[in-house]
Amino acid sequence: MSERNDDFITYELQEFKLFEPLFRWARKKSLWIVAFCTGCGGIEMPPLATARYDFERFGIMPNPAPRMGDLFLITGYVTPKTLKRIIITYEMMQDPKYVMIHGSCPINGGVYWDSYNVVKQFDKYLPVDVAIAGCMPRPEAVMDGIMEIMRKIESGKADGWKRYRDNYEWYKKNQDELFGEGWREKEGKRWLAWI
């Protein structure tokens, strides 16, 4: 456990090792969500942001710019067409970044378990830090998931971004199996000027 934490720090920012607890506290308290409504779970985002649940109390707010985002909420089922965009957006986000999947569908397909156009196991393609089951998960459950991510960040266990770097070949192999070789160059080039 402690060994893993040390590794985490050295990997991350050697020059700021001293301030690491401070940064962790700041990261925990200021999770910006990438505004990408990937599925029907997006409908529970406005209630979360408004009077009854109000996640801005905890410093969480949606941000349209993926470069500034920390938390990627996969809100509901993911189709292959969306997954391409999700992967590109995820790679645009800057480390450290966290992924929370929201609802049963990204976990195992949910009600769309036999659909030809829904990705069944999301964690094959991108690393996941916290998963919330249910369809639709209640806002309380989402808040609970976010608290879980906060706890994980504080203890240094939210290391999805690091796993993605370490096991990039494996993730890339799965992605290529689904989309075919060279999909980034072929299609990503059209979406993003700098790819």
């Binding site: 991350e12 801005e56 349209p64 470069r67 920390d70 800057q94 700098w194």
Partner: protein, 299 residues
């Protein structure tokens, strides 16, 4: 050889730290007050500090070259320079006979810095944001200048410390009818300077998703946040100095700054966003007319 005056150096450093800190708190107040209007609890007041810290702790993976890195630094430098020209409770590092003009235009330079960086990032949304930003700047120059001319003509001085001194003798600027009009004009322009509705055309999250800020992340964004905090402090202080009689101590200044800030927040939370052409038309219509009346009244 001129010896370094350590007292001034310490004062400058202290002032910068104070301004940055208070600027962050102002940003927190902005978010908190908006949340209260929207019937929410809202984030804690120190939330922007946490955001900036977090952004500082991020690993930067992309850079778009030297200009991209230089933009935020340029913006921050210009803001700090502007701050040092403003008389903040008897402290003013730089002073010249025409520091009003200097401050007024130094406060617009940061925008150019951001634009510089955003343009070199190559994102089309950023490019659209930059175009909008430049057009807004052009549009607001006229009423902005008119309001300043009214102030200068009435008090007969380009020197900020003199304007403060005169106000302490003759009463605040807004008690003069002509300058009250100038105050209204300045307040409308102020909304655009802070990038709040109805003039948040530059960032417009639903249209161009943050515009120039879209490509910035990590440490660049942290620098821009710091810059925004200092600028918020400097602009509110400038406003308070010009129209609310300046201040003799920091507490008085703080109260006036927060009062100014709250006007901006209330306006921002009840008005939607203009489009860029409507904003330009708007600026050249009512604020300009009121500004001309204010100038004519002060002659």
């Amino acid at each position: 050889m001129i010896g370094i005056d350590w007292k001034i150096v310490l004062e400058v450093i202290g002032m910068l730290i104070y301004a940055t800190f208070m600027g962050f708190i102002f940003m927190g107040i902005e978010r908190k007050a908006m949340a209260r209007i929207q019937r929410r609890v809202g984030p804690p007041l120190y939330q922007p500090i946490l955001d900036t810290l977090k952004l500082l702790g991020k690993k930067e993976s992309v850079s778009h070259g030297l200009i991209y890195d230089f933009g935020p630094v340029f913006a921050l430098g210009a803001t700090i320079t502007a701050l040092l020209f403003i008389p903040i409770a008897n402290f003013q590092l730089f002073s010249s006979n025409a520091d009003l003009i200097v401050v007024a235009y130094l406060l617009e330079v940061p925008m150019l810095g951001i634009m510089l960086g955003a343009m070199s990032s190559g994102n089309p949304y950023s490019a659209v944001g930059v175009q909008r930003g430049l057009l807004t700047m052009v549009a607001m120059q006229l009423p902005y200048g008119l309001a300043l001319i009214a102030i200068v003509q009435h008090w007969g001085s380009f020197k900020l410390s003199e304007i403060v001194a005169l106000q302490s003798v003759h009463g605040w600027s807004i008690t003069v009818p002509a300058l009250l009009l100038a105050f209204i004009v300045f307040d409308i322009v102020f909304q655009a300077m802070l990038g709040l509705e109805p003039f948040d055309i530059i960032t417009a999250p639903a249209e161009i998703s943050m515009g120039p800020m879209l490509e910035y992340g990590g440490k660049h964004a942290a620098l821009l946040f710091t810059q925004h905090a200092v600028q918020l402090f400097a602009e509110t202080a400038f406003f308070a100095v010009l129209f609310l009689g300046g201040a003799s101590n920091l507490i008085e200044l703080l109260i006036k700054q927060i009062a100014v800030l709250f006007i901006a927040i209330f306006v921002a939370s009840i008005y939607p966003r203009f489009t860029i052409d409507q904003a330009a038309k708007f600026f050249w219509k009512w604020p300009t007319i009121i500004g001309i009346i204010a100038v004519l009244l002060t002659v």
